[in-house]
């Protein structure tokens, strides 16, 4: 309690020190009251977040999701240590079945490549594309959606039309076109996935902003003379975050699915081993060596499933309205 009061006092002091010079000439005692009040309320969201974290962490499904995802992250991080050398290099006899030789627990493919090394290394590209594409898509979608929802009027009309155009085009067809045009590489695949996934974020953000901008505290912030940027990013965005957080984990999952489908079709980065491309090359041998198709697919399914379980857990924690038990 004492430490909390202490930091609060410190914050107020710092804020007073931050106020530009001319303001100090006034002697009206109420001048900094709103500042003090906003500083006092600054510590509230932290406590609220803790309650949601507790709900999230008592959800067994979400915990399973986190555990498996950590495993995938570890595989991606330690891949060069666990399996040094190029995972695309030939290391053994071709078509060794899983368990046939101790050195290759998951067998080898038609070119004598280690399947386990491929799966462990494949986690890198999947996670990279999933996270980077989501971050890009979220950033762009939030900015567009925030501007449309906050300002309204002709800006809104124009941006909504833009969102509509992107949502009317079939996502995956557009993705194939974009990647084929830009030549496949990890970077172009990431950017292309971000391009097809931002409209959903923008729509969601816009809807949240439209409802929040009418709230009293936004009105209050406006009457205090805060600038648009400050109202958008400091007042509205934090309150619009819960649905966006839930969406982001589902976005990572669908980005991983899109990346795997692209590399399955031969539109992935040709120099990097990925789960989709392993399935694509194993496909020809499905009659004789089905494990080449099945194993990387299981890696995709479990990774995506764990992300979706996390998304579900986040949804239950952040939107209690739609909770399972009701």
């Amino acid at each position: 309690m004492t430490t909390e009061a202490g930091t609060l006092g410190l914050q107020i002091e710092r804020r007073i020190a931050d106020v530009p010079q001319p303001a100090q000439e006034h002697d009206w005692s109420n001048l900094r009251a709103p500042d003090a009040r906003s500083a006092a309320s600054a510590s509230v969201p932290v406590r609220a977040g803790r309650r949601e974290l507790r709900i999230f962490l008592t959800n067994p499904n979400a915990l399973f999701g986190i555990a498996f995802l950590l495993l995938v992250v570890a595989a991606a991080a330690f891949a060069p240590v666990l399996f040094p050398g190029d995972p695309l290099g030939m290391v053994g006899k071709p078509f060794l079945w899983p368990g046939q030789e101790a050195a290759f627990p998951l067998g080898t493919d038609s070119m004598g490549r280690n399947v386990l090394a491929g799966i462990v290394h494949g986690a890198r590209i999947s996670l990279f594309v999933g996270i980077a594409a989501t971050a890009l898509g979220l950033g762009f979608g939030i900015v567009i959606g925030a501007v449309a929802g906050y300002f309204g009027g002709w800006v809104d009309d124009l941006l909504v039309r833009l969102i509509e155009i992107f949502q009317t085009l079939p996502n995956f067809v557009l993705l194939v076109v974009l990647v084929a045009i830009a030549q496949p590489s990890a970077l172009t695949v990431t950017v292309a996935i971000a391009i097809v996934s931002w409209p959903m974020v923008a729509r969601l953000t816009r809807a949240e902003f439209r409802s929040i901008r009418e709230k009293d505290y936004v009105e209050a912030a406006r009457s205090l003379g805060y600038g648009h940027a400050r109202i958008i990013f400091r007042e509205i965005l934090p309150n619009a975050l819960p649905p966006l957080i839930v969406t982001s984990s589902v976005m990572v999952a669908s980005a991983i699915l899109m990346e795997s489908a692209l590399s399955f079709m031969g539109l992935g980065d040709p120099n990097v081993v990925s789960w989709g491309s392993m399935i694509g090359s194993g496909r020809e041998m499905i009659r004789t060596a089905w494990y080449l198709t099945a194993l990387p697919g299981i890696a995709i399914v479990f990774t995506v499933l764990s992300l979706n379980l996390i998304g579900d857990g986040l949804n239950d924690a952040l939107n209690p309205r739609f909770s399972e038990e009701r």
């Binding site: 499904n61 039309r161 833009l162 509509e164 155009i165 949502q167 009317t168 085009l169 079939p170 996502n171 995956f172 067809v173 557009l174 993705l175 194939v176 076109v177 974009l178 084929a180 045009i181 030549q183 999952a253 699915l257 795997s260 489908a261 399955f264 079709m265 989709g276 399935i279 496909r283 499905i286 009659r287 089905w290 198709t293 099945a294 697919g297 995709i300 399914v301 479990f302 995506v304 499933l305 992300l307 979706n308 379980l309 579900d312 739609f322 399972e324 038990e325 009701r326």
Partner: protein, 329 residues
């Protein structure tokens, strides 16, 4: 105003709004494809193995590929205004004819997949909502999440492995027995046999979405007053569920289904690749690879129109499901 008049007005408004969107799509796609390195002449030359500069220039001149970009755009829009999608340099036939050959296959695949997805999704969702919070709900919930996480191409390959390679029950690809002379019911059953696996692979992802959506919507509707009234006046639980709850829950589901037409076409690209199904998705992929941009533009335009039409149909369906919708618009 009469019901039909209202619906007609709503439809006209939707279509009017669709015009600028469609035009935007055409222009956006056009410039997007101009960014691509290489054109149809390059792709043809690369496939032939050799080509003289003269013959490539001749191809370009014949299809207007050497004109300035804005002239090409104007030509394309002019063609569209005359209801022509242009001419494919690669296949040597009008684009409309090419698409016309492939469209029925894809529509059939998508329609079957959508029907499977909605049917199974509604059933699973209704079960989940009825047993909300209990074991069946939890089990189906995990199952649907699993469906949601499986890549379509992979489940397609696994289904081939199980049903064609291991059991030998169903064909592993194609759209019908080659050289088949069957007619009537036999032909239909033959096509159906080829369609089961691709349609199931395409549908699984959407089964998951509709099941979860149905569950949420039914739980929300269940707590409303009119359901209590229906129950109080002695309607049997089965009819409360089907006539009152499910009908209202259908509104969010049909909305989503309309939105999914576009993404299903994307899924069809992958599933058609796995099952060598002769459809639009496969044509789109071939067109990208062959730099056949007139075909690609035609497919993108047509699929956008398909999405717009589907959304208009959903609007009409909503007006029928819930007469309050559209009354004040």
């Amino acid at each position: 105003m009469t019901r039909a008049g209202q619906m007609g007005r709503a439809l006209r408004r939707t279509l009017l709004q669709a015009i600028p969107t469609t035009l935007g799509i055409v222009i956006l796609n056009f410039f997007l494809l101009q960014l691509a390195p290489g054109d149809a002449a390059d792709a043809l030359a690369a496939e032939a193995g050799s080509a003289t500069a003269e013959s490539m220039a001749a191809i370009r001149e014949r299809f207007g590929l050497d004109n300035p970009v804005l002239v090409q755009l104007f030509d394309y829009l002019n063609n569209l205004a005359h209801f022509s999608l242009g001419f494919s340099p690669r296949y040597g036939v009008p684009v409309a004819e090419l698409i016309g050959q492939r469209l029925p296959g894809t529509l059939m695949l998508m329609g079957t997949a959508l029907a499977i997805a909605i049917l199974i999704g509604l059933t699973l969702g209704a079960i989940m909502a009825t047993f909300s919070g209990r074991l069946p709900d939890r089990l189906i919930s995990i199952l649907s999440l699993l469906f949601y996480s499986i890549p379509g191409f992979w489940i397609g390959l696994m289904l081939i492995l199980l049903f064609s390679v291991a059991l030998g029950w169903l064909p592993s690809g194609g759209a019908g027995t080659i050289g088949s002379t069957r007619t009537g019911l036999a032909a239909f059953l033959d096509t159906a046999r080829y369609m089961v696996l691709p349609a199931t692979s395409l549908a699984l992802f959407y089964v998951a979405i509709y099941a979860r959506l149905t569950r949420a919507a039914m739980l929300e509707v269940k707590s409303q007053d009119f359901v209590r009234t229906a129950r109080a006046k002695g309607v049997t639980p089965f009819f409360v569920t089907t006539r009152h709850v499910l009908r209202n829950a259908l509104i969010p589901i049909t909305t989503m289904a309309g939105m999914h037409i576009g993404s299903m076409l994307g899924g069809a690209v992958v599933v058609e690749t796995v099952y060598s199904w002769p459809g639009l998705g496969r044509l789109a992929f071939e067109a990208v690879m062959g730099r056949d941009f007139t075909v690609l533009l035609g497919i993108l335009l047509l699929s956008s129109l398909l999405v717009i039409i589907a959304n208009a149909a959903v609007d009409l369906l909503h007006a029928w499901l819930d007469p309050r919708i559209g009354a004040h618009s």
